[in-house]
């Protein structure tokens, strides 16, 4: 009896470490930490999408390009807008733009290889709908899609894709009709089938003067490849 009493007293004395206030504080901090993690997870540094300063156009096969068609280097890229590595690769190419695209030494041709998830297909169709309004519009839209990758839930939902089109001044009526009708779905599928026939299995896969490379490379690695090829040009 006396022993039990002592134990209870001991327990009571010991129970002074934490209180419900402590628990509420920890729970509050936990919610804040998770909120911060979610914000960090869904927020990407916004890159400013500006007017293009290089030549753009559409190849005879109907694919959008940037850079001079007479450039000694031709890079054909198969890409999925949902693929993080493709976004990084597009950023790297854009960083190299002044030295290679604007200088007329590199032409970049974009081809869809939309395969990762349903949103990949929708985003690819939206980009093709933007292309209907001009190759420059396509590239601005392309840059905007990659710049917004991961910015919140449903980044490539139809409503967001339509809103991006409005942001860059596209004819929204024509764009929305194009996207809603699914008119570009077949083109996207053809692009993918052609990619497969050339050995594309993943994104980004790119062909530099016909030579296939899988995966994004760093700026310095790309520079080395471009410079090596340029040095071979007579």
């Amino acid at each position: 009896m006396a022993s039990n009493k002592k134990k209870r007293q001991s327990t009571r004395q010991r129970r002074k470490g934490i209180s419900t206030t402590h628990i509420l504080i920890v729970a509050g901090v936990a919610v804040l930490v998770v909120g911060l993690l979610v914000i960090l997870n869904t927020t990407r540094p916004q890159t400013t999408v500006t007017d293009l300063i290089y030549e753009t156009g559409v190849t005879p096969e109907g694919e959008p390009y940037k850079g001079s068609p007479d450039a000694p280097l031709q890079l054909v890229e198969y890409s999925d807008f949902l693929c993080g590595h493709c976004g990084n690769f597009a950023d790297t190419i854009e960083t190299l733009s002044p030295d290679y695209i604007e200088s007329g030494e590199l032409q970049v041709i974009f081809r869809n290889y939309a395969f990762l998830a349903p949103e990949s297909l929708v985003a690819a169709q939206a980009a093709e709908c933007a292309l209907d309004q001009g190759a420059d519009k396509f590239w601005i839209y392309h840059d905007l899609l990659f710049a917004n990758r991961g910015t919140g839930l449903g980044t490539y939902s139809k409503s967001r894709l339509k809103s991006y089109a409005q942001d860059i001044g596209l004819d929204t009526k024509a764009f929305n009709e194009c996207l809603d009708s699914g008119a570009k779905l077949e083109e996207i599928q053809v692009d993918k089938a052609e990619g497969e026939s050339q050995g594309v299995e993943a994104t980004p896969t790119w062909f530099i003067n016909g030579q296939m490379t899988r995966g994004g490379l760093s700026e310095s690695e790309l520079r080395r490849i471009f410079d090596d090829l340029l040095s071979q040009v007579p």
């Binding site: 009571r12 470490g17 628990i23 920890v26 979610v38 299995e201 993943a202 980004p204 490379l217």
Partner: protein, 158 residues
């Protein structure tokens, strides 16, 4: 044996109970799952997004990192911390020992809430389910639930 030593011994025995052992085992399982996912993420680094399902799609998505740090690595760190805390329980002097269940509760609550967010992303945004990550979500939820009784015991009711 002095009175205080007996008290400490009994205190340690009381706390190294089945729940603590289970949390320890689950933390080890969590370490395994998140270590694999971290490896898988880093193995894909700067390569490609491939024709794949489930974990690969989730790992290749833009949601697999927080400020450049793989989410799986954050999970691994949390499980290591939880495992270390279970080893500390009953081995540190009071009142610091009383804060160990609170720390387990806090870390597992963060893990559980973030896992819920990731599950939402998988179901409604990425459209791919990674079984390893779902396992981790179940593990962290179990750890959270197991942490509650010990926490309640430590509440100062006075």
């Amino acid at each position: 044996m002095s009175e205080s030593t007996r008290d400490t011994t009994s205190h340690i025995t009381r706390h190294v109970d089945w729940r603590l052992w289970l949390i320890r085992l689950l933390s080890l399982a969590g370490i395994g799952a998140s270590a694999y996912l971290t490896w898988a993420h880093l193995a894909h680094q700067s390569v490609t997004c491939g024709q794949s399902q489930g974990c690969d799609i989730v790992q290749q998505s833009v949601y697999s990192e927080v400020a450049g740090i793989p989410v799986a690595l954050l999970g691994l760190m949390a499980y290591v911390a939880l495992f270390a805390l279970t080893l500390l329980r009953g081995r540190v002097p009071e009142p610091q020992d009383d804060y160990v269940p609170l720390a387990i509760f806090g870390i597992s609550l963060i893990g559980m809430l973030y896992s819920a967010y990731l599950t939402y992303l998988e179901l409604f945004v990425i459209y791919a389910i990674c079984r390893w990550r779902v396992s981790s979500a179940i593990i962290i939820t179990a750890i959270f639930l197991l942490s509650l009784p010990d926490l309640i015991t430590e509440i100062d009711l006075s």
